[in-house]
Assembly symmetry: C2
Homo-oligomer: 199 residues x 2
């Protein structure tokens, strides 16, 4: 589930929320799983991974990560990303282009406080995406951190939210014989320009 | 469904096929829908979209597209792409980095011949991703092409397959408390180097 906090009422946001409700009504699994693609400047490579979209707050789309992870480095050196959603239950794809930056520390703190002790133990214990010798070692680090945690344990600086603000949306709806409907919203000078694309 | 044609028997391919069979047994919807991310050199932007993966032939992963589309231009100017799969039925994510190129004309011809007349009419009639005034116009172009088609209609030069060959795989399996299992295969001098990543 995605939490909406005073979401923007601009046209693509209204359309997104309407599709979200429709997918929810059709029992879409993993509705908050979205793919985020980034550019690795050093390697001249595109990389993509799924993240859990937790909030849409005004026009910020927020998920959480380790700030020392490869994707965090990529966001830092190339702040443009692509987000992609496919809800099979309503045969709808949503393509987004956006700028990404770190979420405010207050917001990250609050989210961390609301999570289970176990999830936070993992966030603290894991050097995300670094090589490790065995899965047993992952579990050992996790349990050690879990045992050391106290009610005073706060969010570590190396973990928190990323917010992206879209400047481009495509709403794609699949139809028979590939007669797919494609509607684009592109931001130009604070206005959303709408147009249709050929399938 | 993905068609396997003498698929590679290298280790990540074996693992992929085993997960594919598991997802299939768990009635995974849209099992052939994969996201392909590319780099738009001109705009310095990452873009992503879903495609239908049709074949894995030896080590070529093949889908079909319009060769004049924006993504085709992007593949031409930056042949490195990222492919991403998420099968919710088995809580498994597969991250791939690959090089992409046009599939052989013979393979594209054969695939085109095996498709329905309607799908081919759409492939011929649509200037993929170009702006159009209305959806009625899309339908008009489609029906006009459909009526003009004869049994001799062949694949147009501007439509065909793209093949990508992976050089990097990550198999990610979700577990409780985010204790996810992550296994990477990276190609070095024709060998696949295997290692584990922290969650």
């Amino acid at each position: 589930m995605i939490k909406f906090i005073n979401p923007s009422i601009e046209k693509p946001y209204i359309q997104f929320q309407s599709l979200y409700q429709e997918a929810l009504a059709n029992e879409q699994k993993g509705i908050e799983a979205i793919s985020v693609s980034s550019y690795n400047q050093e390697m001249n490579e595109v990389e993509a991974r799924y993240v859990n979209l937790k909030y849409i707050a005004d026009n910020e789309w927020i998920f959480f990560s380790n700030y020392n992870s490869p994707k965090a480095e990529q966001f830092e050196s190339h702040s443009q990303v692509s987000a992609l959603i496919f809800w099979s239950s309503i045969n709808t794809q949503i393509r987004i282009k956006a700028r990404i930056f770190k979420t405010s520390v207050e917001f990250s703190d609050k989210h961390f406080e609301g999570r289970t002790k176990e999830k936070n133990a993992l966030a603290i214990s894991s050097n995300q995406s670094q090589t490790i010798d065995s899965f047993d070692e992952v579990k050992k680090n996790f349990h050690q951190t879990l045992n050391e945690m106290t009610p005073d344990t706060v969010r570590p600086d190396f973990w928190g939210g990323f917010s992206f603000i879209p400047y481009y949306f495509e709403f794609w709806q699949g139809h028979k014989n590939r007669l797919n409907k494609r509607c684009v919203f592109e931001q130009r000078d604070d206005e959303w320009i709408e147009r249709l694309l050929q399938p």
